[in-house]
Symmetry: C2
Subunit: 350 residues, 2 copies
Amino acid sequence: MLNQVPFVSVHNMMRLVNGLGVERVLTDLAGYVEEDFRRWQAFDKTPRVAAHSADGVIELMPTSDGISYGFKYVNGHPKNLREGLQTVTAFGVLAEVATGYPRLISEMTILTALRTAAASAVAARALAPAGVRTMAVIGNGAQCEFQALAFKAILGVDRLRLYDVDPVATRKATRNLARYGFEIVEAASVAEAVEGAGIVTTVTADKRNATVLHDNLVGPGVHINAVGGDCPGKTELSADILRRADIVVEYAPQTRIEGEIQQLAPDHPVTELWEVLTGAKPGRTGRDRVTVFDSVGFAIEDFSALRYVHDRVSEHAGFVEQLDMIADPDEPRDLLGMLHRAETTGQVAA
Amino acid sequence: MLNQVPFVSVHNMMRLVNGLGVERVLTDLAGYVEEDFRRWQAFDKTPRVAAHSADGVIELMPTSDGISYGFKYVNGHPKNLREGLQTVTAFGVLAEVATGYPRLISEMTILTALRTAAASAVAARALAPAGVRTMAVIGNGAQCEFQALAFKAILGVDRLRLYDVDPVATRKATRNLARYGFEIVEAASVAEAVEGAGIVTTVTADKRNATVLHDNLVGPGVHINAVGGDCPGKTELSADILRRADIVVEYAPQTRIEGEIQQLAPDHPVTELWEVLTGAKPGRTGRDRVTVFDSVGFAIEDFSALRYVHDRVSEHAGFVEQLDMIADPDEPRDLLGMLHRAETTGQVAA
């Protein structure tokens, strides 16, 4: 049925993820993300198209590997939280380049949370010191637990040190993570949280240029997974940390505008993740170096996620609804004729 | 239900259009298009974002008036026709700028055909000599009948002179239009078709720089509605016609790349449709002048069309399906908790 487009609803995404298990999904997604970053040259890297307003932003993030085309619709409205609405909602479409026909529409609010964590773990696997088991997570909002689970599934991290300015958020994270076998410390400060942690994940929702992590708290060899700073005017790390670190980014032209490195000179050297993953360049240049993955979220990660969901729902029937979205006249030039012929059917169905 | 997004399927779009009547829909759409062009300054005019491949193009066309945000996904794959697929398929989304939440998803293959014809009629109402009743239509593909019906409903055109290189297409158009009370001549050549016609619509599918309409066939006072030339390397009019005409376009930066005027110098004077509609500039500068509406299709027309459908389906319940597309955790920071709570529900529903 070429005129039907499979749709993965929020309900079915939850069934799919719960059915496979969150850790399994994160591991699989990491594989898809790494595979796509390794074939970086195959992708169209269009900048995201943003419509800014006083209250937030609506963005379209398209990319293509020449076989499939994907885009994500995503908004960011911090004030939504006060009205009981989601700050970020998202959906995405995967289409066939050869015909231009959409092949999948999917909710992406949950999927974005999963792919963000998977991408962080892919970068950490290439950058963090081997054998790290302890991670600090500064900021215990919606993304916190997904980061923890991805790092457990992919790197074997099983000791967490959590901190948030709001202790309610930390307790929520601890409660949600209870079943996964972590050893969890709820820290009273950032300084306490980072004690003995080989990986520090910063994922706060602070919308300003804040210094969540000060330079004096970061010891030699630590890997920083900086996830929360992701738009102009929103950063989390002290610039001093960045100046002495090996910095890895998704796509430099975008990260220089949106990432932690907006604090640095526009020509400050950074390495792109695909270069590290393909071995073209080293990520970590020494055992005692500090590494930073300055993550802002990139269209290829969404493409990988849509590709993953498309593969899974093709294997497991029953996770999609078919949307009647593509007009399909018997003769392509006869669109009005199709409307006329639908008069009877329309009345019957109405 | 804020997490549900109303979806207008192809089936429901046909029910809606047949229920209201095609001519009524075209008239209403023309009103929405004119209203939006008159408040031109209110809109974000982002260029369309195109992904080109050997076989075609996939485009995203976003715009916003500060209250609503809309975008259309549309492909163009000429070779699809040979495989029994649509050359152009489209769908669109209307969202609320204040929250970023999608408010409507709609099929747009049919809707694009309607809005293109409505926009042509809006331009012709402002440009064609008063009282014209005869229109030639060169190219009798899918768009032909919609053009005819829009010009009948909005300008009172009731005599048609049809020509296509493929007589099968012309017969199809005549058959489809039989019920609407036109006097129709099937012409054997372009020259025969344009005889006595005050409006000439060119809407061929020729993908090259073709000269469908030669200069010597265009008499004084004629309005040319040039719809078929709409991408780089695809034009229909002799450049000589353009050089002596008053040219009106939707959005000059886009039309200079995609429209008939790609044949002219980049600084050749043109007027934008909104300037004519608001009275800021004249469109037709004299009774004996030739006017050309060089139409390529613009994001605001799609926005008007989505706005129209949104208003109609709000009035007439039963034309939408609700899509469960926006994740809605009880506590926005508790996305993993939402997944956990869905484990039971998921199994029950599965």
